[in-house]
Structures are given as structure tokens and as C-alpha cells.
Symmetry: D2
Subunit: 436 residues, 4 copies
């Protein structure tokens, strides 16, 4: 008799046409972070239809925890969503409360398995080259300047696929599967933080975050991919303008404070146990040659490959800014506008996932412990789950790419959709086991 | 028998009503630097009517020598000038060629006496307080955001007055009087440089630049007022952007170059023989937290009370920028966007002027050697005249003020217009003497 | 009948041979600041012989108020003093308690007139050129590396001269003359502060500080010479060493703190109402390439031409150091090792002094308001007297120089000794008047 | 019949008592880098006695290639060496020409196998704790402040051991074994560079550099240990002193140049492909508060884990110093006082070495590819050999330590001496094979 996991694998394969159709529809209609109105509507309706318990908007996230929003892109997306038929009251609710969708499929009292899928697109104009497959096959982005150039359209499709598969097997599941569809993964603006702030990952026992590609080829399954911890700050210095000929002594020079702070920040000593990179990427100060610059702003970010390195840099950043402000007798304000921690991943869960993957058609080899030179909002979830005593991993579904992530010519191998759906569904079964 | 100078003094008094009328008309119609279309038309017509040899627009200045123009203010002024009846072809010619007016009154082969009058207004909204005399007496600025708040309207009126007086005495003048009506004194944008570049002060033997007020009260005549030498630069640094996580080593950081340059510039050592103040007033750099800032711009100015101090600072500024650019391996460009040198003034000419003033009704006391904490575009003329072997002074016609220069409530004592016209006319007579 | 002042002038002339002899003896035996053992012995013995009430060593100064001592130079001077016959117990007392001598000549209940004379030499090897007059006439320094190259030998001689003159006239003096012979004027190490701390200038009504030369030629008397306010600090930063390969993150970099502080200090904005110069003259930091520098020290000074400018700079210095320390997370300590304030001088007293001088043979002209680009420890006295309601001036006895102050070939015109003695003696008579 | 390698292993074991005796004698008589007079005498005499062709002093190294010497420590060592009986003419020759010893054992025309052993001690006072074994067993350093605290005494003993073993087997060796006993490994002062400059590693086919311990425990053999590339520079800035009150403008401030350079150097961007740490460890500048600092010196080092990272940092260091010098208008000089490149190591040679080791009693396990957070002078040899077409490795003989390297309580497990001698001797046999 086939195991539950094998039943799941077989079911996944039966959804192959839907997976491609869902992905291509989403690809045609990309939406920005916190502007995933149409996407969230599709996801929530489908999950409700499957019988899941669905939370949306303010039920699924706490807007207070959001770091940053791109108001222009979100506004445009809301208009497009309404024009495409999304109920305007729902759009307004999501506009105010957020575009997250979190849904539970409960089959018994057993453990809670969580899956994270991200939904946002990027501010990129998609290639119009006739050889670019989305052009050739008619699913190029319909919005100039928004594009699913990272594969999140595929992630959402897989999420729907896994839900469809497991809903069929619900009676045999002895626990809960939680589907976390998060907005705004890109830019570390707070999509994960906002869901976490609602407590929606606190009871997850096994969290599996998913990405397509990222260097892994079709046929490969990566059990643990690590990302950098990162923080992004906006810093304001407030000094005092003065006529630099008549009374330069009355000035408090915010420009020099920012200049000195930039040098201090860039000269934070390296860490012996890890790697980090810090960048003051933006500096603005002053208005006139004849007036002591009374204001300055900086935007800075840093990326570190370990939590202790992150903590070290973060402490030094705050010290440097506070001290330099005092040295130049100016006020300062530091606002966190983004970031995600580093996160450990569980070896045992990785082993289980690897076994489930290798037993799946389309997976030929495993890798473990890949390090990515980027931040990932999923780390917010992984860190929280670990803090609460659960375990988590970040897996990659290998997929051959037409061009790199974030390229106007990005495209992936759609066969990976079935593979991914099968692996994740099977893994859920293994983790939960049969209900009694 | 009355001396020629005394005849001039008497004639000046006879123009008292015209002086006030001219000044108030100009006050009502303020125009920005290089946008003095209506003013230049009035001046040139009047001087032609008096029989002077008049140069205007490209005849009177070389637009290549202009450092900076405020395109918006000038455009608006050109539209107002045309609307007020100035011939649009003339406006176009001045728009392209400049608004300077330089005119000669020639009475013989003797020396050339030059007078400098400036014509531009300031971007200030004039007070609408009913007690503000221009409001009370109906000559408040008709243009919101442009105002004669420094007294240049009075300077132009005095210039027309002196020309009117001396034109009457032309037969008795044994030399030439050159009237230099300059645009754009404020902001050191190149009004004086552009006239100088046409060679129009090269043959002046005695140059007298004039200002009302500046701390001198009605009844005082200042024989020499000194101004600071100043230079203004726009500095661009060009580096190389790089992804600060993947390849920070490929970046060339223009932001850090600008930060380091700012500190180096502000730490130029003081000068033992004089005073200066330097300010990097504006800094802009970079666009994104995740990218090494590939560009930075700074705007800086400095002001010095002596030519050798100016030269010292100027040399150090260029060294610092070039060196820091090399240190951070970025390109740099330094564009001079303004400035005026320090200028010596002639003691003998000051004595003659003081005597001519004291012999004039309305002048009760002399001062010499006042130092102003500001730059003055007139220094460009004074320095050039000295370089060519002539001599020059910058005199103040004392005038009680309603409020300080550049204040929305600025106004001066109009009695000073007659006094000034009389002193300058008499001085011209003393300097040229009677023709043979 | 001759006035008391004229009697004093005549008496002064009678001491001409002694003045030269005293000066040459002191010139042969120069002693460093706080090491004026032999000098103080000569002064105190002479003044006691004249009947003055003499305080010496700890009676005349408070060693706690000393900023700095050159232990090596002082130790060597103490050995020379004992070898030359100064009682070793007295030397020991002065070694511990200080070398100041303060003496009162009291003739009545009237006002207290104070004179300040400084006694210390400089660490300079005197020229051995046969044409250098001290060589030619046999009074070159007998100590290699110590030299009276500023004229303080002449000041002490004049002090003894004035005491000798006024002691003769004691019965006719209606007040007190206080003679303040201060150690350690050079280097602002605290000679004046230590005497002030004993309260010995608190009751002075008219304080006259004296210097020879300083640009004033023989025949000139300067009624007020001004000096800069100055402060000198030693700054220590204490960080944490760390192996820069194994654990750079554990380091706290005192060298970078000092580097950043140096830039911050040198970029303090100029003052619109005055002039100052600041210099971090000495920097030492770290011991090894492979270790984060755990310590750094700086020595800095600044000089300002006004008290408000001084106060401004002083406040900014402390802010900059405290702030930078915080920015780099290091400790800091700021120790004042020298300094003297700016001090106002009294116009009325200057007038009286000028009149007394012009009535004296050898004085042909007056000057007032000379500004010196240097600090002067006398400012400590002048500031304290003014604070207590008295008035003070710093006068110059003009004297042609063989070479500039602090030169190995420095020498002055000894005729100035009589002139100075006569002027100061006469001035004391004028200020005190005759007793009743 | 036993293989040649096995014969070597057996022979090595027979030298166990000598190995310990040699090591303890050397431990009692530690000598500083370039001061290994007694050590070099012992080594050279022993090798000559074994029939090797020995080069010493100027024959073995080129003094011109030395970066740095500690003159005091070397001088004291030369006196101790003479006192201990080393011929003073030989000491003088080594004092001038160097303390390297390079010797060949030639058995045929086959390949050249090189071994590197380092001889220098550290400036550390050895523990006098009775429980410290060198104290307990009577071989504590006889020189306070010099100590073999890194194990080089053991390296020299193994070198003598390998030579003793292979000399016995000379007839069976078909190639040459070159023994390179290098001075001054610590501090990267140029010991390896000086030998390399004589061409003495140019013809080596297989180079094996050796170290005890370094984290490898007794029983472990590490086939390739990698070290950081490093460079050390002394930087001098030459400015111009000036009296900071009278003529600050004449100064050229070397202190500010060094301060700014320190900040620029510490803010070199990280490298995306590797790790580095840079430290300005020493800064000295200026002499007086009142004088613009006319000089400054810095000593800096950096360490990088890859050659391309090293090259990147090195280029940026030179740019930063040259640029900052220009910015502050001071001269600069950069002198390399130490350093060693990164060096690749050969995989094939590592495999052969690992096999030879595993076949040796006392070796229970292999490791490969250990990365050390330190520089190693051996990299100079390894890089040169690779450049000439040979191959090289840096192996570790595991040894349990009493305390860490460079600790006053450092000591190692002397059983490793036999193991190391056996492994290296056997490896030489395997690499050369039998002569024909």
C-alpha cells in the first residue's frame, strides 16, 4: 500500500496543468510588496474553497510592524486591482491592514507544519524580446515596471498546489499545516515581521521556507540555504544653521557630523569569526553655501553572515552615530527601515526533508548548507520559530534559469513547480504522519 | 565765481524730485540679476537722451564670463518686461547678451572717471505692513518675491542723477565720465566679471563704486569700505557603483571621498595675517543602501579678508580635493560658480573724495576703512582697475535705514539720494577738472 | 620743588650702574621656570635688605595650582644653585614650595600698586659668536642650554631698581607697592596661577605688568599690550587592545579615536567676531601592527584674541573629545597643562601711565593697544585683578633688539633699564600720591 | 624486505633520545630572529659532520632582502653566543651576513626535496611556575625575555633528526634533500625573503614546510595548513612646521595627514570573495603644541585570506596614502617592513604526504585544508617554488600543548619529535625514491 507521502506525490503530479496556469496568471499580473491585492484575493478564495481556515489583511498581519512601504507603487496596484475586479472594500481593507494571507488546514491534534511562500514582484520592466518565453508564450507582465523576476509567482503557485494536494488527504493528516503567504519579501520592509507580530508563527513546530532556483539546477534539492542578517537605517542629524561669515560660531554642522559618521561607520573593525559589509549608501546635507548645514540624512545598510557579527556591527553603528552627534553637538535620530536577522536551521529537519525529496521524481541530488550573499525576510520567521522551540529550514527547489534573479529576462523551468509541490506535500505528510 | 564742483552740487539739488521718482518707480518694479530688462531699458534711454554714448547687452558684457543665472527668475522677469512695454526684440537681445549698460560722457581728452551702480533686486517678499513706507506711500514691489531690499534702486537713481548733472556741465569737463550699470551684483554670479571681460574698465583712471547705508548713517560719508574676497565652487566626485554584498571591492566610493574632503576643507589651518571662513554648505551623494555611492556633489564657499588669505585658501581647496580624490580613487571636477577677489583701495583718491564730500551739504562727517563681513562684486572692477594702473575706492553714502539690508522691511532715507548725487558729481568735476 | 615722581625719576638714574650689573649677573646664570633658585635668593635678600616684607616659596605660591614642571631642567638648576652657594635648605624649600617672591613696601593706608616681573629663562643655547655682546663683554650664559633670551633678566633688574628707588621714598608714599616676582612665565605652566591661588593679587588696586622690547623700539612706551588667551590640554584615550586577526571585533581603537578627534578639533568653525588658532601638536598611539591600538595621547593648544572666542573654542574642544570617545567606545581624560585667559586693560590707568612715561627722559613717544600674537601668563593676574574690581595694564618699555625674542642672539638695549625703572617708579608715585 | 621509507621510519625512532636532548638544549638557549648565532653554529656543525654540503651566513641569505632587525635583541644575543663559546669571527660574519643555514644531502641526480625549519625565539619571559615542565625538568630558558614559545626548538631538532636519518640512507637516495634552516620567521621580517633572494629554493621540486601543534593534537597529521597573506608597512609623512599663532598658513600638517590616512585605510571596503583585516597599529606625530606637526609616522599591517584580496588591499593602501599626502600637501614614503604572500599548496603532494604519514606509528588521522588566522614567512618560499614550477605544502605535526603558542607556559608533547622526524624522513624517501 502506498504511503501517505507517496499519495501526496502522486496527487501533486495531477495538478501540473493548474500549477503552470496559476503561475502564468500571476506572472501576467505582478504586484509590489504590500500591494499584492489581486494575488491575496486569488490565494484566499482558493484556500477557502479548499476548506481552509483563512486569515487575511489585519487578521494576518500587524501593520505597526511594517518598516517601509512604497506608497506610489502600492497606490497604482490598488487601482489596477479594483479595475481587474477585486472588490473595492476588500482592497481598502488590505490597503489599510495588509496583504498577508495565513491559512490553516487542520487534520488532527498533531504537530503544526508551516510553509512560507512570498508573493511580491519587483520594480523591473520585463524584457520584450520575442525570444523571452513569457513574451513568446503570452504571459509577459501586463504592468510596465513591475515584474515577477525572482520566482515568487512560482512560489505562490506551489503554495496553492500543496494546499490542493493536502486538502485531498486531510482526513489522513494527524496535525495542522499552516500556509503563510507573505507580502513584501524583497527589501526587508517588514512583511515577515508584521505576520510574526500577530503571533502566527509562534506555534509552528516545523517551518519550511521555500525558494526556486538561486543557483540550484533542475534536479537538485537544497535542504538548507542560509542568508545574511541585515539591517537598514535612516539616520537624521539636526544641527543649527548660521551665517558662515557673520556668526559661524553659532552653527552646529550636521554635514560634518554626517561626514565624520560615514568615516566612523566604514571603519568599524572586521570580525574575526565572520564577514560583513556596511554601506552608507545615501547622504544628503545642507542647502546653501553661505549657511552652516543645519540638517543631514544618511541611509545605511549592513549585511553579516552570522548573528554575533550582526549584533557586533549593530552595536557599533549606534555607538558611532550617538558619539559623533555629541562631538558635533547635533541631534540625531536613527530609524530602522528594514532588516532581517541571521537564523540557525535545524539539521534533523533538513535530513527529513532531504529524504522526502530524494524519494520524489525530479529530484536527483541533494545539497546542504549553501550560503547566499543576500538577506532574506524568511529569517524573521526562522528566528522566531527557533526562539519558540520549533525548528526550521529554508529549502531550494532547483530550477534551471533563463537569466539571473532580478534580471528583465528572468524565467525558470516550470517543471520545478510539480517537483516542488510534490516534495513539500510529501514532507508535510512525513512530518505530521497519519492521524489516529 | 562758483567752482565747477559747486555748480554740480547745485545742479544735483535741482534733481531732487526726479531722484525720488526714479527710485520709487524702480522700487515698484524690481528685477533679478541678469533679468534687469526694464531697468536697463530705462537707464539706456535716459542716458541716450542725455547724449551719452551707450553700450547695452552683448556690447556691454561678455556672457561667457557669467558664472551662474537663475533661469526661472529671469524668465519670469522677461515676460513681465514685455508685458510692461519693453520691446520684445530688445528683451530677447538682453536675454541672450545680458542686461549691462555702460555709457560714456566725454568732454575732453583728460582722465576717465568711472562710477559703478548695481541694478538687481533680491528674491524677497516685501513687507505689506501698512507702516512700511513703500506700502504707505504706494511704491511697494509689484512683484511678489522680488524686492529692492538692498538699495540698488537708489543706486540706479543716483546714477541717472549724476549723468543728468554732468551732462549739463559737459562743455566744462576736460575728460570722460563712464557710467557702469551692472547686473547681478548679488550672489557673485559674474555681473562685474562679464563687463570686465569686455575690457570696459581697462582704461578707467579713477573708479568710484557706490553703496547706500551699510551701517553708515545719514550725514556720514565713508571714503573706503572694504569687502571680503570670496569664491564659490561646485565639486563633483565620480566613483563606481558596486553591489556592496557581492563585490564591494569593485566600488569606488564617492560619498566617502566627499566626506573626507569636507573634513579636510574645514580643517584648513587659519592664516596668521587675516581671517577667513569656509563652508561646505551642500552635500549630496549616492542613491541606494545596497550600492557603493558612485557619485557625490558638494557646494562650498569661502570668504577672506585679504587677497593673500584668499589665495592661500584657494590653493589649499584645490589640493585637498585633488588629493582626496586620488586617495579614494575617484574622479573629480571643480567648477567655479561665483566669487570676487579682495581689492586694495587708493588712499589719495579716498582723500580727494572725502574733501569733495565734506564740502557738500548733507555730509557732516567722514569715515575711512570700514570692513564689511560680506563679498562685493565691485571688487572685480576694483582689482582690474588696480591691475591696469588706475586707482579705485568703494564709498558709502550714509543713510538711516528702516531695517537692515536684505530685510522685507528694508527702506532708506531718500534725502541721501540728493546728497549722493551731489557728492559724486562734484567728485567727478574735481577729478577731471575743466577742459581747456 | 620737584614732585615725588620727579624725585623717583632722578633716583632711578642714580641706579644705572647697578641695573646693568644686576642684569648681567642674572644673564650669566639663567634658570628655568620653577627652577629660579638663585634668582629668587638674590631678589629676596635684596628686598629684605631694603626693608620690604618678603614672602617666598610656599608663602608666595600654591604648588597645587601649577600645571606643569620640567623636572630635568629644575633638578639640574637646583644642583647648580647649591653649588653656587645658595643654602641647600632654602633650595629644598623652594623645590617643594616654589620659587615665587612677593614683597610689600608699605608707606601708608592708600592704594595698593602692584608690579609684575618674571624671572625664568629659556631652554636655548646662547650664541657664542664673538660679536654677540654677551660674549664680547663677558656675560654670556654659563649654562649650556639655558638662556635669558626674552629679557626677563632685565625685568628682574628693573624690579630691584624700582624697589630700591621707592624704598628711598618710602616715607612719602601713602600706600603700598607690591612687587610680584613670578616664576615660569614661559609655557603658561602656572606661575601666575600659583601666586594668584595664594590670594596675593586680590587686593591690588592698580596692577602694572612689564616687558622690554616686543617690537617697541628704544624711546617708545606702550601703555597697553594685549596677548592672546590660550589653553593647553593633554588628552588620553583608553581603548582595548585585540589581536587584529583573531578578534578585531574585541578591540576599541584609541588611535582612530585620536585621529577622528584631531580632524574634529581642526574643523571647529571660525568665530565671526575674532580670531583663533588651534593645533593638535603631538599625537602618540599604539605599539604594534598586529594589535588594535589600546591607547592614544594628544597634546593640543589653542590661542584666541578674545575671551568669548576662547570660551567658544574651549567648549567645542571638550564636546568634540567626549563625543568622539563615545563614537569609538573608548575612555578619555582631558588634563589642562597650561593656559592663560584674555584680559581687558584699563583705559584710565593706561592714560596715567602714558603721562608718567612721557614726562620721563628716554621716552619720546607712546603707543596704545598693540596686539601680540602670543599668550602671556600675566593675563592670569590681570583677569583676577579685574575680577576683584581693580584695574591693570601691560606696558612695554621700548628697547632696540640685537635679534628677536627667543633667538640665540637675542640682546636688548640696556639703556632701557634706567628708563623703565624711572617710568615705573614715577608711575607708582603718581598712583599712590603722598602719604598724609 | 622493508621499503626505504620504512627504513627511514625505523631510523627515526632510534634518534628519539637525541631529538629530545637537542630540543631541550635549544629551549634553554633561545635566540631572536637574525640573532640565531649559537643555533646556527650547532646546526651547521652537525650537518657538516653528517657530510652535507653546508652554506651559512652570506652564502645562505642576502642581507639586502631583510625588512627589519631588532638591533638590541641581536646585539645581546651575539654577546651571549660569544660568551657561550661560539667563535667570535663566525659571530661577526653572521652578524653581518645573517644566520641562515642551507645544506644539501645529495644522493643522485633525481628530484630536489626541500624541508623548511625555522629557528627563532620570541621576546617572552618564560613562566617560572614549578609545574611548567621546562622548569620542573630543568630546561627553562636561560635568557629572561627570550623564549621558544612557538615550538621552533622542536622544528630545529626535527631538522637535525631528518638529516641524521637520511644521511644514513644516502646511498639509497636518488636525488637531493635540501635542509633550509631559516632565521626570523616571526614578524615577517624577511628571513625567508633573504634566502629566496640567494636563489636557494629556485630548484626545489617538492617543498615541505613544517610546524608542530597549531591546534592539531598528538596523533593528527595535517597535510595542508594555509596562512594569511600579509604586508607590513612603515609610512612617513613629511610636512612643514610653522608657528601656529604667527603663521599657521605656512604649516603642512603631517599629523592631520596621518589621521586622515588612518581613517581612509580603515575604511577600505570589504572584499566580496574573502576576508581581510587591516590595522594602523602605531602612530607618532609632532613634538610641540605650538608648532604645526612637521612629521608623522605610521606602522600598519594587513592580513588577507586570498591573494586577490591581498592585492586589492595593497593597491588601495598605496592609493590612500598617496592621495591623502597630496590632499594635505605633505611628502610621504612607504617602506615595506615585512610581509608574506598567500600561497597555493599542491593537492598531489599533500596526498603523498598524507599516505606517508598514515603509514607512520604515531599518526592516527589526517586533516587537510586547515586555515590559520596568521601570516607565515614560509609562504614566501611556497610562492617562489610554485612560481618556478615546483610544488609545495605546509604540514602540521600534531602535538598536544600545555598552553597556546606565544604563551609563557607554552610547551608541546615531545613524542611528536619522533613522529615528525619519521614522517618527514619517510616522505623524502617516497618523493625521491631509490637511486639507480
Amino acid at each position: 500500500m502506498a504511503s501517505l507521502a507517496d499519495e501526496a506525490r502522486a496527487a501533486a503530479r495531477s495538478f501540473a496543468p493548474e500549477l503552470v496556469a496559476w503561475r502564468r496568471d500571476l506572472h501576467r499580473h505582478p504586484e509590489p510588496g504590500f500591494g499584492e491585492f489581486r494575488t491575496a484575493r486569488i490565494v484566499s478564495e482558493r484556500l477557502r474553497a479548499l476548506g481552509l481556515d483563512v486569515r487575511i489583511a489585519e487578521e494576518a498581519m500587524d501593520g505597526e510592524a511594517v518598516h517601509h512601504r512604497h506608497a506610489d507603487r502600492i497606490g497604482a496596484a490598488s487601482e489596477r486591482a479594483i479595475a481587474s475586479g477585486v472588490d473595492s472594500a476588500l482592497v481598502e481593507r488590505m490597503y489599510n491592514g495588509g496583504t498577508a494571507v495565513v491559512a490553516d488546514l487542520t487534520g488532527g491534534d498533531g504537530p503544526v507544519v508551516g510553509f512560507r511562500f512570498d508573493m511580491d514582484a519587483l520594480p523591473i520592466v520585463e524584457s520584450s524580446d520575442p525570444e523571452h518565453r513569457p513574451v513568446a508564450e503570452g504571459f509577459r507582465s501586463s504592468v510596465e515596471g513591475e515584474m515577477h523576476a525572482c520566482g515568487h509567482d512560482g512560489h505562490v503557485a506551489m503554495g496553492l498546489g500543496v494546499a490542493s494536494v493536502l486538502a485531498r488527504l486531510r482526513d489522513q493528516l494527524g496535525g495542522t499545516v499552516r500556509f503563510v503567504f507573505q507580502p513584501a519579501e524583497e527589501g526587508a520592509m517588514g512583511g515577515a515581521a508584521a505576520i510574526t507580530a500577530r503571533g502566527l508563527v509562534d506555534d509552528i513546530d516545523h517551518l519550511v521556507c521555500v525558494h526556486l532556483g538561486l543557483g540550484a539546477q533542475t534536479g537538485t534539492f537544497v535542504t538548507r540555504a542560509y542568508f545574511l542578517a541585515t539591517a537598514k537605517y535612516r539616520v537624521s542629524f539636526t544641527g543649527q544653521g548660521a551665517h558662515v561669515v557673520n556668526s559661524p560660531q553659532s552653527g552646529r554642522n550636521a554635514l560634518l557630523a554626517a561626514a565624520s559618521a560615514s568615516l566612523a561607520l566604514h571603519s568599524i573593525a572586521p570580525h574575526g569569526d565572520g564577514w560583513f559589509s556596511l554601506n552608507v549608501g545615501v547622504l544628503r546635507a545642507g542647502d546653501e553655501q553661505g549657511v552652516t548645514p543645519p540638517w543631514a540624512t544618511m541611509e545605511l545598510g549592513f549585511w553579516a553572515d552570522r548573528t554575533d557579527v550582526y549584533d557586533y556591527v549593530d552595536a557599533r553603528v549606534h555607538q558611532a552615530i550617538a558619539g559623533v552627534s555629541r562631538a558635533y553637538d547635533v541631534g540625531h535620530k536613527v530609524v530602522r527601515i528594514g532588516g532581517a536577522p541571521a537564523a540557525d536551521q535545524d539539521e534533523g529537519l533538513a535530513r527529513v526533508a532531504g529524504e522526502a525529496a530524494l524519494a520524489t521524481d525530479g529530484v536527483e541530488r541533494l545539497e546542504d548548507g549553501i550560503s547566499g550573499r543576500a538577506g532574506e525576510d524568511a529569517n524573521v520567521f526562522l528566528a522566531r520559530v527557533a526562539e519558540r522551540g520549533g525548528r526550521g529550514i529554508y529549502v531550494l527547489i532547483g530550477s534551471d534559469l533563463a537569466d539571473g534573479h532580478h534580471s528583465p529576462r528572468f524565467d525558470f523551468d516550470e517543471r520545478s513547480l510539480v517537483t516542488g509541490t510534490a516534495v513539500l506535500s510529501a514532507l508535510a505528510c512525513e512530518l505530521i504522519g497519519e492521524g489516529s
